[in-house]
C-alpha cells in the first residue's frame, strides 16, 4: 500500500524543518478526525476493526520492487461499508498500534504521520461513500458497491497526495510525478482491495465473522507466494552479483562500473518513458552488458597499450558472446539488444555489426552513452577521471556520430538531478596483470538528491 512508500522515504536523517512541520500537521489533522469520530462509534465494532487493521498491517508483502501489498486497505474499506466514515476513521488507530507496539518502529514521527494520513484518507473515503449514495451496514446493495468504488478512488487519491508531499519535502521529487507514479502502480491493487472489501463486508453482515476465515485462506496463500517471491528475488540479485564477480575477476573495473551504469541506464530509460518490466530488463541487462568479456583472454582485456588487429578482433566478439549467454533468460529479452549492440555507433561505424542509425534500438543507445559516461568519469590506471562537465563536453562533441543526442541530453538532466560525481578507483595495473583479483572499489559516488 502507498503509505509504506512514505515509511521508506521519510527517514529521520532527511527530515528537515519543513518536513517535520508537515508531518506534525498531518498527524494533528488525523487526530482531529479521530476525536470527531470517537463519540459516535460502536465500541465493540471499533475494537474488532482496530485489531483487524493492526493484524493486517503486520502482514505486508512485496508485490514488485516498488509495490507493497497489505490487507490494511481492505479492512478500512470494509469499515466504510459496515459502519460508515465514523468506523473507518476509528479503524485507522490500528496503524498507530501496529507501528508503535507491534512493529516496534523506532521512528515515532513516521508512525504518527502514517496513522494521521490513513485517518484522513479513511475520512475522505467514508464521506465520498456517503455522498455517492452508499448506505452503511448494507453491503449487499449495488448502490453501496458504487459508493464504495467512489470512496476507494478518494482514498487512493488522498493517500497518494499526502505521501507525495512528504516525499517532495524529504527527497525533492515532484509531487505530480510521484502521485502519478503511486496511482499508476497501485490502481489495479486498489480495485482488488475494493472487490475484496465488498465481499468481506457482505459476509460479515450477512453470515457472521466466521465466514471471514474463508476469505483469509486465499489471502494467506497469496501472501505466502509473495513472500516466496520476495525471498527468491533477493537471492536472484545475489546470483547476478556472483556472476558479475566471476567476470570481474577478469576485468578489475567492472564491479562498481556495472552498478553505476545500471543505475544511470534505469534513470534515463525511465525519463524516456519505459514501463516497469522494461526498466527491470534494462537494470539487469546494463549490469550484465560486459558478460561476454569472459570469452576474451585476460592478457587482452588488461593490456594497457593499444591493441593489435588480432587482439581487437577478440575484443569485438564480446557483445555477441554476452547476448548469446543471456539469450535464454526470458525477462531480459526486451533489453537483450542493448547487450548485443552496446558498441555500435549511430553513424554505423561501431562494432561488431556496424548497424545503421535506424536499426539501433533505444536500449542500446542508452547503455552505450551511460557506459561511456561512467568510463570517462572513473579513474583508470593510465589516466585520471574526467570531471562530469568535461565528460559531457566530450559526449556532446560525439553526439550524432557515436552517441544518440537525445540520450546524451536526458543523461545530462539525470546526472544533474542525482548530483553525479566522478569515481576514483585505485588499481595499479601491474598487480592486476599478474594476479587477477577483485579490486576494492569505493561506493558509487551518488550523493543524496538535493
Amino acid at each position: 500500500m502507498s503509505a509504506d512508500r512514505a515509511t521508506s522515504s521519510t527517514s529521520p536523517g532527511s527530515a528537515g524543518g519543513r518536513l517535520a512541520v508537515y508531518l506534525s500537521v498531518v498527524f494533528v489533522a488525523g487526530a482531529a478526525v479521530w476525536v470527531w469520530a470517537w463519540p459516535h462509534v460502536d465500541p465493540l465494532a471499533a475494537v474488532a476493526f482496530v485489531g483487524g487493521l493492526a493484524l493486517a498491517e503486520l502482514l505486508p508483502a512485496r508485490m514488485r520492487d516498488d509495490v507493497f501489498v497489505s490487507l490494511g486497505n481492505v479492512v478500512v474499506l470494509m469499515a466504510v461499508l459496515v459502519g460508515g466514515p465514523v468506523l473507518a476513521i476509528t479503524t485507522t488507530l490500528g496503524v498507530l498500534i501496529a507501528g508503535r507496539w507491534l512493529y516496534r518502529d523506532r521512528v515515532l514521527q513516521r508512525t504518527l504521520f502514517n496513522a494521521g494520513q490513513m485517518a484522513l484518507s479513511a475520512a475522505s473515503a467514508g464521506w465520498v461513500f456517503v455522498l455517492a449514495g452508499g448506505t452503511a451496514g448494507a453491503p449487499q446493495q449495488v448502490r453501496s458497491w458504487l459508493g464504495l468504488l467512489a470512496g476507494a478512488v478518494a482514498f487512493t487519491l488522498v493517500n497518494c497526495l499526502l505521501v507525495a508531499v512528504a516525499v517532495r519535502l524529504s527527497a525533492g521529487n515532484r509531487v505530480r510525478s510521484t502521485v502519478a507514479d503511486l496511482v499508476r502502480s497501485s490502481s489495479v491493487l486498489q480495485l482488488l482491495y475494493a472487490g475484496l472489501s465488498i465481499l468481506a463486508a457482505a459476509l460479515l453482515v450477512g453470515v457472521g465473522p466466521e465466514a471471514l476465515i474463508l476469505l483469509l485462506v486465499p489471502a494467506l496463500v497469496a501472501r505466502h507466494a509473495l513472500r516466496g517471491f520476495q525471498h527468491e528475488a533477493e537471492s536472484y540479485d545475489r546470483l547476478v552479483s556472483a556472476l558479475l564477480k566471476a567476470v570481474e575477476i577478469k576485468d578489475g573495473y567492472t564491479r562498481g562500473h556495472t552498478d553505476r551504469v545500471s543505475e544511470l541506464c534505469v534513470e534515463v530509460a525511465r525519463e524516456l518513458g519505459s514501463g516497469y518490466e522494461e526498466l527491470r530488463a534494462v537494470r539487469y541487462a546494463a549490469k550484465l552488458h560486459d558478460v561476454g568479456k569472459i570469452g576474451v583472454p585476460i592478457s587482452v582485456i588488461n593490456k594497457p597499450g593499444p591493441l593489435d588487429d588480432d587482439e581487437f578482433a577478440l575484443i569485438k566478439t564480446h557483445p555477441t558472446v554476452g547476448a548469446d549467454i543471456l539469450a535464454d533468460v526470458e525477462f531480459l529479452r526486451p533489453a537483450l539488444d542493448g547487450v548485443r549492440y552496446h558498441h555500435e555507433r549511430v553513424d554505423g561505424n561501431g562494432y561488431p555489426f556496424g548497424v545503421s542509425d535506424q536499426e539501433l534500438p533505444m536500449v542500446a543507445r542508452i547503455i552505450t552513452v551511460c557506459d561511456a559516461f561512467d568510463a570517462m568519469t572513473s579513474s583508470r590506471s593510465y589516466r585520471p577521471a574526467m570531471t562530469v562537465r568535461e565528460a559531457f563536453d566530450e559526449l556532446r562533441r560525439c553526439a550524432g556520430t557515436q552517441f544518440d543526442p537525445e540520450v546524451v541530453r536526458v543523461l545530462e538532466d539525470v546526472s544533474a538531478r542525482l548530483g553525479w560525481e566522478p569515481t576514483y578507483e585505485f588499481a595499479p595495473h601491474e598487480e592486476r596483470r599478474t594476479e587477477p583479483q577483485p579490486v576494492r572499489i569505493p561506493e558509487p559516488a551518488t550523493v543524496a538528491p538535493a
Binding site: 465488498i198 465481499l199 474463508l214 497469496a222 509473495l226 556472476l243 570469452g295 592478457s299 533468460v329 525477462f331
Partner: protein, 391 residues
Amino acid sequence: MTRVAALTRLRGRFAIALAVAVGAVATVAPTHTSARGYVWAFLLAAIVGELIVLDDVRGASAPASVAVIAAFALLGHGPVAAALVATGAWVVAAGVRTWRGERPDPATLGERALAAWVLGGAAALGALVRPDVTIGTDSAGVPVAAILAVTCGLLLGPAVWDLRSSSAEAGPASRIRRSGGVGIALGASAALVAVAHGLLGGGALLLLLPPVLAVRAGLRRYVDIRRTYDQTVVAMSRMTELTGHAESGHGVRVADLAVQLGRTLGLGDRELRSLERAGHLHELGRIVTDDPERAARDREVAVAGAAIVREAGGMDGVADVIERHRDPYRAVGRAPDRSLPLASRIVHTACEYDRLVRAGGIDRWGALDVLQDGGAHDPEVVSALVRVVAG
C-alpha cells in the same frame, strides 16, 4: 520402485471406484437443492475460470473453474448436474483454446468431470446426513462448506492427478504438499461463493474474482522469479561453454542425468532441485582458473566454482556439492569416503559419463565399464546409472 508405482496405480483405480460409488449413491438419493437458478451464471463463470490457470512453484496447476464447479456442487445440485457443468465449461473453453492456437489436453476433461461428480455426490450425501443445514443461507453452513471444499481440494486433486502416469514418481504425500497452496485457496474460494450465494445470488460469482486473482498474481510472481533464476543458472553454465572452457551442452546434460540418478536413488524434491543446479554449475570454476600456460586441474575448478556459487548466497547446499564433486569415492588403498555428499557423487559420475560418451569416443556400455573400474565412483550411483541408461 516398481512396487511404489504399482501402489500408486492401485490408489488411482481405488479413487475412481470411490468417486463413481459416491456419485452413484448420491444420484439415486433425493437431491437437496438450495438454489435451482443461476445454472447459466455458474456455467459462464466456469468457462471463464477454465481460462484462468493458477500455477504453483511446486508444479501443481489448476484452473479457477475448479472453484466455480465446487461451489456449484456444494450448493446441492447433485453429481450429474455438476459433472455436466464441468464438461460443458471444458468443451467451450477448449474451443476458445483451439481458436487461440493452443492444444487443450483431453485428460483434464476427465479430471474435471470426475472431480465435479465426486464433489456433487459428497455435498448431496452431506445434505442427507444433515438435512437441517443449507449451505448458502445458513450460518451453520459455513464450517460444513469449508471442511468439504478444503478436504476435496486437498485430497481429491492429488487422487485424480494420480491417474496420470507421467507424474507417478512422487508419492501421494508429496503430491498433497505440492497441490497444497492452490488446492486450499480454490477450496476456500469455492466455500466462500457457496456461502455468499444465499446473500448475493449470482453476484457472488463475480466476487470470486478478487481472491482468485490475488492468489494467481502472487503465485505468478513466484513462479516467474523461479524461472528467471533457473534460466540464469543455465546461462551461467552456458557461459563456460560458449567461451570454449567446457564442451557445448555439457552442463544441461549433466544436470538432466544427475536429476534422473537422484530420482532413482530416492532423493526428495528439494534435493533434486539443488542437484540440478549443481549439475548446471559444476564447471563454472573454469572461467576463473582459465590460464593459457597451465591446464587447470578438475579439483581446482570444483573449488573455484564453489567459491563463486557461495558468493551468490542462498545456494550453499549447491556450493558444497560442487566443491566436492571431483573427490574420488575411494582413494587408492583407502576406505570409501563417508563424508562425501551423495549429490557430489552423483554429479561426479554424471559428469564423467557425459565426458566419456561425448568426447572419449566410447559407447554407453564401454563408459559404464570404465566407471565401474577403480574406486573413483560410488558403486551405488553407478548401478543407478546402469538402470537409467538401460531403461
